[in-house]
């Protein structure tokens, strides 16, 4: 259907862009011919856009308009014709075209500069993508994520962070808060899906309170969220909401998904809605596939009815502030409410409150742990960018002398200086934007490469690393700022040209290298800072790897399994464990085997339990006896090679019918039984008394730098937990992976339907504990080397320049009998001055700044002499390498030739 008027957006564009002298006539011609063609089209009948190569009227108009813009648009006022046209944008775009042409005329220079800028800008974009994915916009699609906060159960003085909150307490906070628009709770729970849609599979899920989508600010597509009645009565409404990805993957994006049935952990559930695309749940960096309302908790996690138990601290909380409310106000209110709860339920909530954390400092999950490393990396890539800008500025200054004539001509023709500076700045902008475009490609690769540093975890990791509008906007902003940084001074300098000498082709008074020298010193100094940081982190990493975790991680394979979805009760479960351990133990190639609910150094860590009483210890008033514990199988200490300091470990005599026992660690014995007699003492947990039968050496549980905390080990046969980790130590040297298949075989022979997942090794977990140090060290190291290379190139450039300028002087010296070695020495001394100044400034800066990262360093002082010295040495060798060629060239000059020129 052809319109009577030509395409309006194009005619509008032409009005803006065409110069005055042609505007009316070109537009008139185009419109006239357009109407003819449109009439022609409709008389032929509605033709497709290309009918044997013939365009329809609108397409023809578009093509002509584009050609007209290219050929006639943005014309700068010419010298012959007084023009009344030309707008501001016209001038800028005109400069852009001119700048592009001049850049294309120097392809080597342009290519090199663009590559350098791409590296600097691209790396910044990569780190920013991470910061955006983990901290700024960790919940894609969520409304106003800055209002979200994490609430952690902790002591009123801020210590003891953080445990979960019970459902009843959550409800109390929710009902009474006026500063928070909503509080939602969640708990991770993987589930077993079967039934409609595909093969049975295990997916990551989360138990949530009904208001989760509302609090997070997302709306389910297809279907709905949870209704209030679905989250009230335990067990009454078996409904779930699924993720967008699961909807596409398993259900083919079925439009009538709401109402479909699916089997979850062998029970029928109804799907009532689908979460929006890209939304992964309330934990930053993780993506869950299934959302189960709290009322259905018993079907999904083992545990007595957790909803009614005010002491069961199992829910993590996320909340949304009301607009305009500050964190401190929320904190004050949380404290006030916690005092009310403590009064109303004495003994159950002593001295506890909800701490309020912004997402970037969340004690739970990825964001809080990763953020400090990202900040460090951001600082280092900023250094790289500054070095790149300084490098490019130096090149531009050098190039400016080559373009003196061109600039002089333009000034002679009457161009104002400001206009020239503007045009040169636009050229710099073009370089920066080209670098940014290339840099985005680098960013895409680099941000994915950083994923290699995330520690192994059985949680469904999904960080949004897409290069969306925010990242592009950030990159463009960085490009614009960079273009001013590296372009302003060279532009100003270029325009300060002496017109007449330049036109005559005379050399300007020897271009002083002053500014370029300063830039080199700056580049060297910044590189030094980056390398010192790299050195500090590398040493940290080395220290971390040397830490004794308290157990022997070599040659041990871990298998995760969960009996709960399979419908095992405590009795069957215990039986299963016994059979499993017996059979695996008999495998050739297996040295020892055991179970543990959570192996040490797993990111999700151990649970805490409230201990009511410790025999032989008098708690001070207000002191909480909350201890970490794990549930382990027999032979645990032998398998992990944790020494037993006194008494015994957990072994087969500990059964449901034998006296309840526990083993404690040294830290606990030290803390609570100063007389050293732990074995034989009893502890009361709830109403149950258990006896301490052994003391084990301390191990690292949560991190490599932690001080040992009191810890209790309970036998799984006495304190049954259905989800556990099978830990198998392989006998003898060689790849421990060889026992994976035999163990799988045994598990499936006992229960073919039971899946084993998250198969990894203990060594991997230990390595994962130093993931942050490794990421920081590797990132800082690579980027530091990049900076140093750029600085070296800059140094080479300026020294070469200096050598050329001193040609005559060297010629004279050589003629007067100086040795080539002496000449080379002169060159080296020049370079050494520059580099030395840079190193001195850099080391000083590094000493000042390193204090800021002291918190991330492990066993290394921020003024670690080894790192500083090594950096100095590296810079010295780099300086030597960079100057070698120019020095050689200088020494090899033939004095006859050099003295003859000029």
């Amino acid at each position: 259907m052809q319109r009577k008027h030509p395409p309006r957006s194009w005619s509008w564009l032409l009005e803006r862009v065409l110069p005055h002298e042609h505007r009316e006539f070109v537009l008139g011609d185009l419109e006239e011919e357009y109407r003819l063609r449109a009439r022609d089209d409709s008389s032929r009948g509605s033709a497709p856009a290309t009918d044997r190569g013939r365009l329809n009227a609108a397409a023809w108009y578009r093509r002509q308009a584009m050609a007209a813009i290219v050929r006639l648009g943005f014309r700068r006022p010419s010298l012959r014709r007084p023009s009344r046209g030309g707008s501001m944008t016209g001038v800028v775009v005109d400069d852009l075209r001119h700048g592009l042409k001049s850049l294309l005329r120097a392809p080597g220079f342009s290519a090199f500069t663009i590559i350098v800028l791409a590296a600097g800008i691209g790396l910044n974009a990569a780190v920013f993508t991470w910061i955006k994915g983990v901290v700024l916009e960790p919940f894609p699609g969520a409304r106003r994520p800055s209002e979200l906060v994490v609430l952690g159960n902790q002591n009123r003085d801020g210590s003891g962070c953080c445990s979960g909150t019970s459902y009843l307490n959550l409800e109390d906070y929710r009902a009474r808060t006026k500063t928070l628009a909503g509080i939602a709770g969640y708990e991770i729970a993987s589930v077993h899906l079967s039934g409609a849609g595909g093969a049975p599979e295990r997916v990551g899920g989360t138990i949530v309170t009904g208001n989760i989508f509302e609090v997070m600010g997302v709306t389910p597509v297809a279907g709905r969220g949870f209704l209030p009645e679905e989250t009230r009565e335990p067990g009454s409404h078996p409904v779930i909401v699924i993720s967008h990805a699961l909807w596409q993957r398993r259900f083919g994006g079925d439009p009538s998904i709401a109402g479909r049935q699916v089997t979850v952990n062998d029970r029928p559930f109804t799907i009532v809605g689908v979460a929006p695309r890209g939304f992964g749940g309330p934990m930053a960096g993780l993506a869950f596939d299934v959302y189960v309302p709290v009322a259905m908790q018993a079907a999904v996690v083992s545990g007595q009815q957790l909803l009614a138990n005010r002491g069961a601290q199992w829910l993590d909380l996320i909340a949304r502030r009301r607009p305009g409310v500050t964190l401190d106000v929320v904190r004050a209110e949380m404290n006030a409410i916690s005092e009310q709860i403590e009064r109303e339920h004495p003994g159950l909530y002593e001295n506890r409150t909800l701490g309020v954390y912004p997402l970037s400092q969340s004690p739970i999950g990825l964001a809080g742990a990763v953020f400090p490393v990202l900040v460090v990396l951001m600082a280092i890539v900023t250094i790289v960018l500054l070095v790149a800008c300084a490098n490019v500025a130096g090149l531009l200054i050098a190039r400016a002398s080559a373009r003196r004539r061109e600039v002089a001509v333009r000034m002679a023709l009457g161009a104002p200086r400001a206009r020239l500076v503007g045009q040169l700045l636009v050229e710099s902008l073009a370089l920066a934007l080209a670098g940014a475009a290339a840099g985005l490609g680098l960013a895409s690769w680099a941000s994915r490469a950083l994923l290699a540093f995330t520690p192994a975890t059985d949680l469904p990791l999904a960080i949004n690393l897409s290069l969306d509008r925010t990242v592009v906007a950030f990159t463009a902003a960085v490009a614009i700022v960079s273009s001013v940084l590296f372009g302003l001074f060279p532009a100003l300098q270029s325009s300060r040209v002496e017109v007449l000498p330049a036109l005559r082709g005379q050399l300007q008074s020897l271009s002083r290298l002053g500014m370029r020298r300063a830039l080199i010193v700056g580049q060297v100094a910044l590189s030094v800072v980056a390398l010192v940081a790299a050195g500090l982190f590398a040493r940290s990493l080395a220290q971390a790897s040397r830490v004794d975790p308290g157990f022997d991680p070599r040659g041990t394979v871990l298998f995760s399994l969960d009996l709960f979805p399979g419908g095992y009760d405590a009795e069957r479960g215990r039986q299963f464990f016994t059979t499993l351990l017996d059979r695996v133990r008999e495998l050739p190639g297996v040295d020892a085997v055991t179970l543990a609910r959570r192996p040490p150094l797993l990111p999700r860590g151990a649970r805490g339990t409230e201990v009511a009483e410790i025999e032989g210890y008098q708690p001070s008033p207000g002191e909480r006896l909350g201890l970490l514990y794990d549930v382990v199988g027999s032979d645990y200490f032998r398998t992990l090679r944790i020494p037993i300091v006194s008494g015994r470990g957990i072994d087969r005599r500990d059964s449901p019918t034998s006296p309840p026992v526990v083993v404690v660690n040294e830290a606990m014995a030290r803390r609570y039984w100063q007389d050293g007699q732990a074995v034989g003492r009893r502890i009361r947990i709830g109403s149950r008394w258990v006896e301490v039968v052994g003391v084990a050496a301390d191990t690292k549980r949560r991190g490599l730098s932690e001080a040992p905390a009191p810890f209790i080990y309970a036998p799984v046969q006495q304190r049954y937990e259905p989800d556990t980790t099978l830990m198998v130590r392989a006998a003898g040297p060689g790849d421990p992976g060889r026992i994976v298949e035999p163990v799988r075989g045994i598990v499936s022979s006992i229960d073919p339907a039971l899946p084993l997942f998250s198969i990894t090794t203990l060594e991997t977990l230990v390595r994962g504990a130093s993931a942050a140090e490794r990421a920081a060290a590797t990132g800082a190291g690579l980027f530091g080397l990049l900076s140093v290379m750029l600085a070296a190139l800059g140094l080479y450039g300026i020294v070469s320049c200096w050598v050329s300028q001193r040609r005559r002087e060297f010629g004279v010296r050589l003629a007067l009998g100086a040795t080539p070695g002496a000449i080379a020495g002169l060159v080296l001394r020049q370079a050494a001055w520059l580099a030395g100044a840079g190193v001195a400034v850099g080391l000083g800066l590094a000493a000042l700044l390193s204090r800021a990262v002291a918190g991330l360093l492990f066993g290394v002082s921020p003024l670690d002499p080894v790192s500083f010295a090594a950096t100095g040495l590296l810079l010295a060798s780099v300086t030597l390498a960079a100057t070698w060629l120019p020095a050689r060239r200088a020494a090899r000059m033939d004095p006859v030739i050099t003295l003859r020129t000029e």
């Binding site: 008139g28 006239e32 007209a68």
Partner: protein, 105 residues
């Protein structure tokens, strides 16, 4: 002999002007060149060339009346000037003299 040198497209445009006489304006010039040479020609290129020719003095323009088909805009008519005609002739001669004796041409 003038020292005006005409580019290839400039020659085509001038020839179109000679064909079209007093009816030469953007649309007709473009269509004339397209139909005779079989090339697809953009209006922008035509105007650019006319501007250059006008600068060189080879072409003169005059304004016409506005019409509704043109959205109320005026037409600009172009004619070849005597200088332009002479320059065209010289270009033609130059080409012919160069081609003389070239084998297979």
């Amino acid at each position: 002999m003038s020292d005006l040198h005409l580019g290839e497209f400039e020659q085509l445009v001038l020839l179109a002007l000679l064909h079209l006489k007093e009816h030469a304006y953007g649309v007709s010039i473009r269509q004339e060149i397209e139909s005779r040479t079989g090339r697809s020609v953009s209006l922008g290129a035509v105007y650019k060339t006319l501007e250059r020719l006008e600068d060189k003095g080879c072409v003169r323009s005059a304004l016409g009346d506005p019409t509704p088909e043109r959205g109320g805009r005026r037409k600009k008519f172009y004619r070849a000037s005597p200088l332009g005609v002479r320059a065209l002739g010289e270009s033609f001669q130059a080409l012919r003299r160069m081609a003389e004796g070239v084998e297979g041409f």
